[in-house]
C-alpha cells in the first residue's frame, strides 16, 4: 500500500506556469480526484506523478521513496489514458498481458491473471478481439484491466470517461469506484466533470490556474467552498459580496454591497467588519408566492425571469433589485410552479448560508 506525497511541485511550459507550487498528500487506498477546468494543470500534475514530465521544482514521494529521478517504466504505476491508448495491432489479451510480459511473469500465470482481470471488468471471453471490434465502453474497460492486472502501487486515471456518452459515463464511474474499493489501490483520478468528482472521490482537490484552490471531501467542497473559485466551479451558486455588520452567539448579520440584509448561522471565525462572500446554493433557495412571510428574515422579492424544467427540478431565474438569483424547486408540480413574470418571494435558511472570507 502506497501513499503519494507531492511537495512544492512546479512545471512550466515556455512562459506559462502550468503547475504552480502545489503540495498534496494522497493516502493509501484513497480514491483522490483532482478536479478543475481545462488548462488548470491537473493533467500536468498527473503526468508528473506518472513520470512523463519532469517537475521543474519540487519532489514526489511514493511512501518515503523520492521518485523524481525514477523512469516511468520503473514506477509500478497503472495508467488509464483519456483515449484508452489500446494498441490496434494487438488483441485484447495481448494488450492486457503486456505489463505482465514486461515483468517477466511466467506464461501460465499471465494467462490466469489476464483472465481474472477481464472477469473483473466484465469482459470475459473477449480476449481474442482487437480493439477496433469493441465499443467505447468495452475499450475503456480493457484499458482499466490492463492497468490493474499488474497490481500497481498507484492507479492513475486521466479523464477516462470523457469519451463516453452521458449514460455510460454514469454507469462506468460507479464500476470504477466499486473496483477501486475492492482492490484498495491508491488511486488518483483527474476530471473536469464536477458531478463525477463528487460521486466517486474519497477526497478531492480543486485546481485552477495551476494552483490548488481547496482540498477536502466531497461534502466539504460542495457545502463549504473555501473561495469564490471553488464556489462557482462546483454546481450553481448564488454569490453576494458584503460585509459582516454584527456577530452574536448564534448568528451573523451581513449587509451586501447592494444593500441586502442577510442572516447566517455560520459563525465560525467570523468577525465584525470582515469582507465576505455570501454563498447560497439554489437548492437551498426557496421560492414562495409574493406575500410569503417568515420571522427568520432572509426574504427577497423578485420577478421570475426564466424557467428551466429539468424533469426532477425546475430551475428559476429570479430578477431582484439586488441581482439575479437562481432557485431550484424539486418535484415541481403544476400547482406549486410559478410562471414567467410572476412576482415571488425568495427565502434562505440561515443554516444554509455559507460565508467565504475575502482575503
Amino acid at each position: 500500500m502506497v501513499y503519494v506525497r507531492l511537495e512544492n511541485l512546479e512545471k512550466t511550459f515556455g512562459s506559462i506556469i502550468a503547475v504552480d507550487n502545489i503540495s498534496l498528500r494522497i493516502e493509501e487506498g484513497e480514491f483522490f480526484t483532482i478536479l478543475g477546468p481545462s488548462g488548470c494543470g491537473k493533467t500536468t500534475t498527473l503526468r508528473m506523478i506518472a513520470g512523463f514530465y519532469k517537475p521543474d521544482k519540487g519532489k514526489i514521494y511514493f511512501n518515503k521513496r523520492l521518485i523524481n529521478k525514477i523512469a516511468p517504466e520503473k514506477r509500478n504505476i497503472g495508467m488509464v489514458f483519456q483515449n484508452y491508448a489500446l494498441w490496434p495491432h494487438m488483441s485484447v489479451f495481448k494488450n492486457v498481458s503486456f505489463g505482465l510480459e514486461m515483468r517477466k511473469v511466467p506464461d501460465d500465470e499471465i494467462k490466469s491473471r489476464v483472465n481474472s482481470a477481464l472477469d473483473l471488468v466484465d469482459l470475459q471471453g473477449l480476449g481474442d478481439r482487437t480493439p477496433d471490434q469493441l465499443s467505447g465502453g468495452q475499450q475503456q474497460r480493457v484499458a482499466l484491466a490492463r492497468a490493474l492486472v499488474i497490481e500497481p502501487d498507484v492507479l492513475l486515471l486521466d479523464e477516462p470517461l470523457s469519451n463516453l456518452d452521458a449514460k455510460l459515463r454514469v454507469e462506468m464511474r460507479t464500476e470504477i469506484k466499486k473496483l477501486q474499493k475492492n482492490l484498495g489501490i491508491t488511486t488518483i483520478y483527474v476530471t473536469h466533470d464536477q458531478k463525477e468528482a463528487l460521486a466517486v472521490s474519497d477526497r478531492l482537490a480543486v485546481m485552477g490556474l495551476g494552483k490548488i484552490a481547496q482540498v477536502g471531501n466531497p461534502h466539504e467542497i460542495y457545502a463549504k467552498p473555501a473561495n469564490k473559485f471553488v464556489a462557482s466551479f462546483i454546481g450553481l451558486i448564488n454569490l453576494f459580496s458584503g460585509k459582516v455588520s454584527k456577530v452574536s452567539k448564534d448568528n451573523v448579520w451581513i449587509k451586501t454591497k447592494t444593500g441586502l440584509d442577510l442572516v447566517s448561522s455560520s459563525i465560525t471565525n467570523v468577525k465584525e467588519g470582515m469582507e465576505v462572500l455570501v454563498a447560497v446554493r439554489p437548492e437551498h433557495t426557496e421560492v414562495h408566492s409574493q406575500d410569503y412571510f417568515s420571522e427568520e428574515g432572509n426574504l427577497i422579492s423578485g420577478i421570475v425571469e426564466g424557467i428551466e424544467y429539468l424533469g426532477d427540478l425546475s430551475r428559476y431565474s429570479i430578477k431582484t433589485q439586488y441581482q439575479t438569483i437562481n432557485a431550484d424547486q424539486y418535484s415541481p408540480s403544476a400547482e406549486k410552479s410559478f410562471k414567467m413574470g410572476e412576482t415571488v418571494r425568495l427565502s434562505f435558511e440561515k443554516e444554509q448560508i455559507h460565508l467565504i472570507e475575502i482575503i
Partner: protein, 591 residues
C-alpha cells in the same frame, strides 16, 4: 493557464530542454546533423563559394556577370524559366479539369480512368523522353505515320525534322507528358477534402455555378494545387534528362552539365548557373508558402467529415467527359507504347512507320552484354542500399521532429527538407568539389560507387522524412506512453509498439526511394565513379541508357530495353506502395 514568466526564464527553459533530452535522442541528433552537414550543407556551400571564384582565381562576381553577359547562357536561363512556366500552364490546363471531373462527378467508366490517370508516373521521365524522341522525333514512327496520314487528306507537309524538336515547345511537350498527374493528384487531394458544408453554406447564401467555383471551391483547393504547381515548376527548371535527350543545348541545367564535364569547359559557370537555379527554386518555394500556404484548411468542422458530394452525370456530358479522358489517356501512354515498340520490334525502313517484326534480340543483347547487364545490377544495388539508408535516416529525423523538443529543431527540419528545392545538379557538383579531394593517399570518394548511394539517399531524404513523419504522427504518443507506464524500456516500446504500427508507411517510403534511385538522372550522369560493387564498372542504369541512346540505331533499341526494365520496376514498386498506403501512392510519389 498558469501565470506567465519572464524572458530570462524562457532562456533557462530552452537550455533545460537540451539538458533533459535522453542520450539516445541526443546521439541521433548528432548523427543526423553530421550527416546532413557533410552531405548536404557543405556540398551546397561549396557550389555557392565556387560561383564566386573567378576564372582568374580571384574572388568576385565575374561569373555572374558572364552569365548575364553571354548570350547563350542568358538564353539558357530565360528558356528554363519560360519552359517551367509553360509546363506549369499546360499541366494545369490538363490537371485541374481532370481533378474536378474525377472528384466531383460519377460517370460510367470512371473506375478505369482512376487507374489509368497515374500511368505517366509509371515511366521514368528519362525513359519517357527517349521514347517520345524515338517515336515523335526525326524519322520517328508517329512522325512518319502522321506524314502519311495527312497525305490521305491531300495535306503535303514534310515532317522530316520530327514533331518533337530541340526547342522550348519540344521540352514543354515531353515534360507535360510526365508531370500533369502531379497537378491532378495534388489538386484532387485538396478538392476531395473540401467539406461540402462549406460549399453548401455558400450556395445557401446565393453563390452558384462559376461564381461558387471561383470564390469558394478554387481558394479551398488552392493549397493542393499550389503544392502540385511547385513540384512541377521545380522539377521542370532543374530537369537535366529531357534537354539531354532532345539535345537542346540552350537550357541552363544542360549548359552547367556540359561546361563541367567537357574538357576545358568553363567550370565556374556551372556553379553559378546551379545556384541561380537554386535561388529561383527557393524564391518559388517562399512565394508559394507566403501567399498560398501549403497547409490544408479545407476541413473546418469538428466531428466526422462527410463524404464530398459527387454528381452523377449522364448522356451528352458523360460522353464528352469520357472522350476527353480517353484522348488524354491515349496520349499519356505514347511513351509507354513507344518504349515497348522500340524495345521489341525491328525498325521500319526509313520514312516508313510499320515495324518490321517482333524480336527479343535487343533485350537479349541488354542482358548479355557485360557492361549493360552490370549497369542493371549496379543500379539495383545502389537503389537497395539507398532505400535502407534513406529510411533509417529519414525515420530517425522524423522521430526527433515528431516526438522530441530540442534547440535547433527547426533547423534540422529545414536542412532535411532542403534537397527538395535544390536541383540535383547542385548536389552532384557539390559532391564533386568536396569529395574528389583525396582523403587518404590516392583515395577519392568520388571514384567509388558509394558516392552514388549517398547522393541518392540525400536527394530523396525529404520524401522519407515526410512519409515517416506522416506515419509516425498517426501513432498517438499515448500508445507509446501506455507501454512505458507498463514497464517497457525505450527500445522495447519502439520495437513492440511503434515499429509495427509505422511499418507499412516506412516500407512504402523505402520502395519509393528504391524506384526513384533506380531511375535517378542528375547525379547519375554527373558523378562517374569507376569502382563498382562488382568490379571496375560503376555505371548506373540511367547513364548506360544515355550512352546507348546517343549511339547507333541498335544501341537506341537496347536503351529502350533498359528503359522497359525501369518501367517494370517502377510499376511493380508503385503497385506495392499503393497496396501499403491504401491507394494514395501516387501522391507520395509526386508529393
Amino acid at each position: 493557464m498558469g501565470r506567465l514568466k519572464s524572458f530570462k526564464d524562457l532562456l533557462i527553459e530552452k537550455l533545460k530542454n537540451l539538458r533533459s533530452i535522453d542520450k539516445f535522442s541526443l546521439s541521433l541528433i548528432l548523427i543526423a546533423i553530421t550527416l546532413l552537414s557533410v552531405f548536404i550543407l557543405f556540398p551546397v556551400f561549396s557550389v555557392v563559394l565556387d560561383a564566386f571564384v573567378e576564372p582568374s582565381g580571384e574572388i568576385g562576381f565575374q561569373n555572374f556577370v558572364n552569365l548575364i553577359a553571354t548570350p547563350s547562357y542568358r538564353r539558357g536561363l530565360i528558356n528554363s524559366i519560360i519552359t517551367a512556366s509553360l509546363t506549369l500552364t499546360t499541366t494545369s490546363a490538363i490537371g485541374i479539369p481532370v481533378a474536378y471531373i474525377m472528384t466531383r462527378y460519377v460517370f460510367r467508366g470512371k473506375k478505369i480512368f482512376t487507374l489509368l490517370t497515374i500511368l505517366p508516373l509509371m515511366i521514368p521521365p528519362f525513359v519517357g523522353a527517349l521514347a517520345l524522341v524515338g517515336m515523335m522525333g526525326r524519322n520517328g514512327i508517329i512522325t512518319n505515320f502522321l506524314e502519311d496520314f495527312l497525305m490521305l487528306f491531300g495535306i503535303n507537309i514534310s515532317l522530316k525534322e520530327g514533331l518533337i524538336l530541340p526547342n522550348i515547345p519540344g521540352i514543354v511537350l515531353v515534360q507535360t507528358f510526365h508531370l500533369w498527374p502531379l497537378i491532378y493528384l495534388n489538386t484532387s487531394a485538396s478538392l476531395s477534402k473540401i467539406d461540402p458544408t462549406l460549399e453548401e453554406s455558400a450556395r445557401n447564401l446565393g453563390a452558384t455555378g462559376f461564381n461558387l467555383f471561383r470564390r469558394i471551391t478554387l481558394p479551398l483547393a488552392l493549397p493542393g494545387f499550389a503544392a502540385g504547381a511547385l513540384l512541377v515548376f521545380l522539377w521542370s527548371i532543374s530537369d537535366l534528362g529531357t534537354p539531354i535527350m532532345l539535345n537542346f543545348t540552350d537550357y541552363s541545367v544542360f549548359q552547367a552539365f556540359n561546361e563541367y564535364t567537357i574538357q576545358g569547359g568553363y567550370r565556374e559557370i556551372a556553379s553559378v548557373i546551379s545556384i541561380v537555379l537554386t535561388g529561383i527554386s527557393a524564391l518559388a518555394l517562399v512565394f508559394v508558402n507566403k501567399y498560398v500556404g501549403l497547409k490544408e484548411y479545407a476541413t473546418v468542422r469538428a466531428g466526422a467529415a462527410p463524404k464530398s458530394i459527387q454528381k452523377r452525370i449522364s448522356g451528352k456530358l458523360n460522353i464528352i467527359v469520357v472522350v476527353f479522358l480517353t484522348i488524354l489517356i491515349l496520349f499519356s501512354i505514347i511513351p509507354h507504347l513507344g518504349t515497348v515498340v522500340m524495345a521489341f520490334t525491328k525498325n521500319p525502313s526509313y520514312g516508313e512507320w510499320v515495324p518490321q517484326g517482333i524480336t527479343l534480340e535487343y533485350m537479349v543483347e541488354a542482358l548479355v552484354d557485360s557492361n549493360t547487364s552490370l549497369s542493371i545490377l549496379n543500379s539495383l544495388v545502389y537503389a537497395l542500399l539507398a532505400s535502407f539508408a534513406g529510411i533509417f535516416l529519414g525515420a530517425s529525423i522524423a522521430y526527433l521532429l515528431v516526438r522530441k523538443k530540442f534547440p535547433g529543431k527547426s533547423i534540422l527540419d529545414i536542412i532535411s527538407t532542403m534537397p527538395f528545392a535544390i536541383p540535383g545538379i547542385v548536389i552532384g557538383l557539390g559532391f564533386l568539389y568536396i569529395f574528389s579531394q583525396p582523403i587518404v593517399g590516392n583515395f577519392r570518394l568520388t571514384s567509388f560507387w558509394y558516392i552514388l548511394v549517398i547522393a541518392y539517399s540525400m536527394r530523396r531524404l525529404p520524401y522519407t522524412v515526410r512519409s515517416s513523419h506522416a506515419v509516425l504522427k498517426q501513432v498517438h504518443v499515448s500508445l507509446e506512453e501506455a507501454a512505458t507506464s507498463l514497464g517497457a524500456s525505450r527500445i522495447k516500446t519502439f520495437t513492440s509498439i511503434t515499429l509495427p504500427l509505422i511499418m507499412p508507411g516506412l516500407m512504402a517510403g523505402a520502395i519509393l526511394i528504391f524506384i526513384t534511385s533506380f531511375t535517378e538522372v542528375s547525379t547519375s550522369l554527373l558523378l562517374q565513379p569507376i569502382i563498382g560493387p562488382f568490379g571496375i564498372y560503376a555505371r548506373p542504369l540511367t547513364l548506360q541508357i544515355l550512352l546507348l541512346a546517343k549511339g547507333g540505331p541498335t544501341a537506341v533499341k537496347v536503351a529502350s530495353c533498359l528503359g522497359f526494365i525501369q518501367i517494370i520496376a517502377t510499376s511493380i514498386g508503385l503497385y506495392i506502395t499503393n497496396k501499403l498506403l491504401g491507394g494514395k501512392a501516387g501522391l507520395a510519389f509526386g508529393g
